[in-house]
Amino acid sequence: MSSETMSVVPPTRRRFALPHSARWPLGFAIAALALFALYYFVYYGPVDPDFKAWVQRWLSIASMNESLVWIMCALGLNIVVGYAGLLDLGFVAFWAIGGYTVGWLMSAFFQQVDINILGTAPAGQRGIHINFWIVLVIAGALCALMGVFIGAPTLRLRSDYLALVTLGFGEIIPQLFYNGDNFLQTGFNLTNGTKGILPVDPVEAAAFDKSGVGFRNLGVFDHLSKYVIFVFLVVIIVFVSLRLREGRLGRAWLAIREDELAASAMGVPLMRTKLSAYAVGAIAGGFGGAAFAIHINGVLPDRFKFDISIILLAMVVLGGMGNVWGVILGAFAISWVNSTGLPQAGNAFNESFGTNIDFPSFNFLLFGAVLVLMMLFRREGILPEARTRLVLREPGRTEAESLGADMEAQAPELEALPDVEVAGEATTDEGKRS
């Protein structure tokens, strides 16, 4: 390199600059690795016990793993809601199906049979014991199938009705699991009812512990190794989400979100395209469910309630619909607050002030307030996709004209408010596009 170029700053800088699109993936990778290192040292390294306790309290690996499960499901929902614009209020159904697939195929539950395909159960145990990695594929496939099954009769409906019908499925499917110990009064025990199916077989995978890496069956307390598996699954889902969005299918989803009728007139088959969004989203949900089952070492129907669907939706919206990185952030933030942040902050507060306030019971308030305030002041989420920002900010002119909707101008009431923030954003948005 010659001395003249050395003196010029911009080129040197550019040498180290990342392509814009690589920034987030790299950030994610670094965060995931850093957490891995942190946990590894906390568990197996010579760490100060106080620090260890601190980590366990504020960022315990178990709740981290659970967050990863939420992230998987939220990413799945993001494909349905964020990409294709289909409001799904019953996403919990896929989570449940994914979980039960593991319950059925990786446990001693079906005593009637004795099937073992690369299974990890102790010898001599009856039941179906299939290797986790095969079951994962089956769970994905089953969820995709269910997605199509649920979608087929309903995707023709208008958006509100679609929301309701998915909500219906989100109520029916968990209830079938819930009462599945006497499936539809036939006497057949399909799901073991409220008692759930547990324990499930261990996963055979790379195990990280004191002695380094090995390949063995993971136990209940092999959280770190499960963390690696979960991160791997999240990466797959993210990768697929990003790739699909770029391609032909992603465009068709967007087009449907924008204007269904015009999309069909432009040769986009509505049903098939919508179904594919459902199916792909469902697969992610199924992965989430399967991961959850191995996280809690079983399946319990009680977890699959309507609020899960709503919380997932909130995660997607909070993070920024349509943007996988935003959704990851949103899902992590909400699940962390729910599992750790609120109770621990509450404990800390109660300890230092000698009060006895039940903080977790405030999560209704917190959760509600976050949703409302987000919608009022930052509708596009923490990390919006440029496009979504516009969807939720100011509906367009053509929309207003062609649909006769009420969305044409900004509300006069709002006009009066000094809205500096909006102004700033709009400019950055312009900047980004060009």
């Binding site: 207003a400 062609s402 101008a409 900004q410 006069p412 006009e415």
Partner: protein, 241 residues
């Protein structure tokens, strides 16, 4: 003309924004009582925005609007209707799930004189026989042109002092275009002042007393309609000459 002093409607240097984008940048317009004034300009010039501002759907960030001696910028849209300004908006904006009849009734929402309303409605149906044929149809299922007729008729049902028409001839068959322009002339004779926005500038200039030309949100020209019709630039730019 009822000896009122000064113009009926004045827009004084108004600036109107959509979010961050200025659509109208300093427009000053007068409309005198009993006049037909037309506002012409190419797509996106800010014509509709100006009308929306008069009606109170948008609020000027700067400048003011005076109607019959009273500031009306910042007043609620529904109160402005009460003062006697009705608009047939761009894009028709009829109530799609209501019948034609109900739409017409809503035009007279603020009026209390039942008998008169009925008579006016009858007059509208006379004017647009097509609407009578479709009287019980849901307005949203009507054809584009039928909706346009309804939008104009609905605005007339308010018996406004000042009528704002945004591209009333859009999508109408030639016979009806003539009819609309005739009607505008007629209602002016009955004492209604009209502010007309038209793409069909030639026809608009044909019936208007005065005209304003908007270009990218600013006023480019103003003058009597007859003058503008002769203006070469205008002819070239808007009349397809």
């Amino acid at each position: 003309m009822t000896g009122a002093t000064g113009p009926m409607l004045t827009l004084n240097d108004i600036h109107v924004y959509y979010g961050n984008i200025a659509a109208v940048k300093g427009v000053t317009i007068d409309v005198n009582e009993g006049e037909i004034v037309t506002l012409i300009g190419s797509n996106g010039a800010g014509k509709s925005t100006t009308l929306r501002t008069i009606s109170g759907l948008l609020k000027p960030r700067k400048g003011n609007v005076t109607f019959l001696g009273r500031r009306i910028d910042g007043i609620n849209a529904h109160d402005i209707v009460g003062l006697g300004i009705a608009q047939s908006p761009e894009g028709r904006r009829i109530f799609p799930k209501m019948t034609v009849s109900e739409n017409l009734d809503l035009g007279a929402f603020l009026r209390k004189d039942k008998a008169e309303i009925a008579a006016d409605k009858e007059r509208m149906l006379e004017l647009f026989p097509r609407l009578r044929e479709r009287i019980a149809q849901k307005a949203g299922t009507m054809s584009g042109g039928e909706q346009q007729m309804l939008a104009v008729a609905r605005a007339l049902m308010a018996r406004p002092k000042l009528l704002l028409l945004d591209e009333p001839s859009m999508g109408l068959a030639p016979v009806l275009v003539d009819l609309i322009f005739d009607t505008i002339k007629r209602i002016r004779e009955q004492g209604t002042t009209v502010l007309l926005v038209e793409q069909n500038a030639l026809a608009a200039l044909g019936i208007a007393d005065r005209a304003y030309v908007l270009e990218s949100g600013t006023l480019k020209l103003a003058g009597s309609a007859a003058e503008l019709r002769q203006d070469d630039d205008i002819v070239k730019a808007y009349l397809g000459g």
